[in-house]
Symmetry: C2
Subunit: 181 residues, 2 copies
């Protein structure tokens, strides 16, 4: 069982529900998924070609007029590959926060810089949290199928952790302002 490229799994996961073009796939990834996974045309299109030769997906020309359009469809083999991945125990969870890196090394700078970096982080998180809450509300009003439950869980993961981040920001700012300088 070869280690699959993750972008392949994202695409198979999306195609499991509906046929999509590469462009559509990019848009889907840029939605709620982007909080825990990213994708770009530069890896989506090559992955589509590759998975087609491996018979995990099939394409059909759905061009409209002069506008080229290729719609992809998942095959039974593709569904199998997706399920296999879901059943694998290994999951790589990585966090790379440059803000924390900067904070860790802030002894080389100043309290002011450290505070400023935390404030920037806080602002970004607040913006993203708003968006996640919109996704969450939309899901709550539309919990019709099994899939929505899974979407809901990933969204609440984002909300819960971002709220924890914000509480930490408040604490951290307080410490940086109050601790003897």
């Amino acid at each position: 069982m070869a280690r699959e490229k993750k972008i392949d799994m994202v695409i198979l996961g999306l195609l499991f529900h509906e046929d999509l073009t590469g462009y559509d796939i990019k848009k889907r990834i840029d939605g709620a998924i982007s909080f825990f996974w990213k994708g770009s045309f530069g890896n989506i299109y090559p992955s589509l070609k590759d998975m087609q030769t491996r018979k995990l997906i099939q394409s059909s020309d759905t061009s409209v007029g002069g506008r080229e359009k290729i719609t992809y469809h998942i095959t039974e083999e593709g569904k199998e590959a997706l399920k296999e991945w879901l059943n694998e125990d290994l999951a790589i969870n990585e966090l790379r926060y440059e803000t924390l890196l900067k904070l860790f090394f802030s002894g080389a700078g100043s309290r002011k810089t450290a505070l400023h970096n935390i404030e920037n982080f806080e602002k970004q998180i607040k913006t993203d949290l708003e968006l996640l809450k919109v996704y969450c509300k939309n899901l709550e009003n539309n919990m019709k199928n099994e899939d929505h439950l899974y979407y809901y869980l990933t969204v609440t993961f984002g909300i819960d952790s971002y709220e924890a981040y914000l509480k930490w920001c408040t604490k951290a700012k307080k410490m940086l302002r109050l601790e003897a300088r």
Copy 2:
């Protein structure tokens, strides 16, 4: 102001406090830093060579007996580069959690698989949280300088977010077990 490679900044940050060998640097990164940033010999050694030619660091041969040993020291230019980076507003914060990806697409699998994946995640987080708490306790008993405050803040970030993750795990498991199937 060229975008600096992050591994360079990690190394400069560490060398700001003490002279170190490449091997030492790897060990430091594998400690508390590894929760938000990683490094490997494969990028540490080339970075050291590169930063030496750019005069951000200096090396001295500190071999003991037949064992080769090169100790690096940060230069004034190196300190400047580090401070510049700390003062840049841009910070890239990325989270890539394969567990969430699997959960998002669990409609293609089963509740059992989804639960299993969450349990694996929970186990990993619990282990990591224990370690973070040890770091935290060590820091609390040894808050002698400014740097320790920054280390403490990054460690509490980890603790706070991991505790939020665990609460979410409990909620998520409950939902997966109770919701109509």
